[in-house]
Symmetry: C2
Subunit: 267 residues, 2 copies
Amino acid sequence: MNKSEIIAQIRTKKSFLCIGLDTDIKRIPSFLLEYEDPIFEFNKRIIDATKDLCVAYKPNIAFYEAMGVNGWKSLEKTIQYIPKNIFTIADAKRGDIGNTSKKYAETFFSTYSFDAITVAPYMGLDSITPFLNYTNKWTIILGLTSNKGSSSFQYLNLDNGRQLFNEVISSSSKWGNTENTMYVIGATQSQDLIEIRKLIPHHFLLIPGIGFQGGNLDDVIKNGLNNEVGLLVNSSRGIIYAGNDTQFASKARDVASSIQIQMSKYL
Amino acid sequence: MNKSEIIAQIRTKKSFLCIGLDTDIKRIPSFLLEYEDPIFEFNKRIIDATKDLCVAYKPNIAFYEAMGVNGWKSLEKTIQYIPKNIFTIADAKRGDIGNTSKKYAETFFSTYSFDAITVAPYMGLDSITPFLNYTNKWTIILGLTSNKGSSSFQYLNLDNGRQLFNEVISSSSKWGNTENTMYVIGATQSQDLIEIRKLIPHHFLLIPGIGFQGGNLDDVIKNGLNNEVGLLVNSSRGIIYAGNDTQFASKARDVASSIQIQMSKYL
């Protein structure tokens, strides 16, 4: 999916919501455990209930991996079930030497046909290039994360006066372009968005951390929106675990709908 | 496997060789393609031919992931086939927020029973803690990598006079201890080993990059060895692809043997 198609979907749906499918067998409603593939059954119902309200789904690969072969089967079915006009992001945070990154790119762009993958940039240019070599696929680089541990290294001060996250974003923005690269920017640090938008005014930003991680949606929109929208805002647990009984999907829809309404005011 | 067991294996075998199982369906001898599971068949023969010469195997997870469900099945069979007194490392370079890292830890320590996993530390403390919570399991933190792209960020100068890799190693060495944490240190940068050994004199180091990536084994040993050995030196392609015909396993053994002989001089 290319950038103009993503923007067209956003304008049509009046939404830049991404729903994170962090589907955990221990957290889904118990009645689903009777199905042959409870994880897929859960995802299917979430997708059915929310697909008109969001423009992207982001399965968190760790949750599928942890279930072994069955998890990967559930993931494959989920990807095939998502409508083709919805953007799919493998939240995998991969990053390795070129030879190995090439295999990770093959995994998520070819074996599983995702539109995008999140990647860790710290191993440098050759760890990212293999992802950029695919046409109409997106590499979403970790720019600044929303967890407490982001303070361990991402805010370190460099001798050039910049902070590390700032340098990483600035350097890596030259590796690809605004048609194949996005950035993960943790919403809980939305103050930093103003500074980051100066560095990369035209890139799409994937903003996690709305909801459970404490990010404020209005702040994110005010500081992050550009003239092509330029934002995908993710919520995972806040939506998919809004309910825990037979009505879980409609409860997920209610939360997604309230976010979509809030977003529509800015579009 | 705990530290004293690893050291005992090293002393017994007079080897600290780790063999990387970067098994690629496109590179294995063609006669293996007739088998039901060519990847496992390849690994099985490599293991049979080298298990007395090495103390660790390190499957590179990207190569298995890229094959989808079948790849994970091959990986599972491989792990089960490796003798229990040989250390197993999932080269996965995972790293995410705590909630997600917990799932990655579950994947590799519980679902697949590896002894160790390589992790990326840049998301900070809470991205690593879930791995450290397992008993008798090892977290191998990326300290300095052997690829060309390591220059993109790892050598950045901080305002405290340190380079980034130096700061990452120093800070993260306080998160765990020498009984549950090792470091990946790229061998092509073996000059840096002297400096790194001052920071973490007692940690085990996993050294990739011997062979194809250009590292020199004698230099690595001179600069990295400590009084508990403290080194696992990895070779992947240089060993497993030493041959490409029906004799590939014995050719792999020849290369592994020459490395083991070189190592034995220092033990």
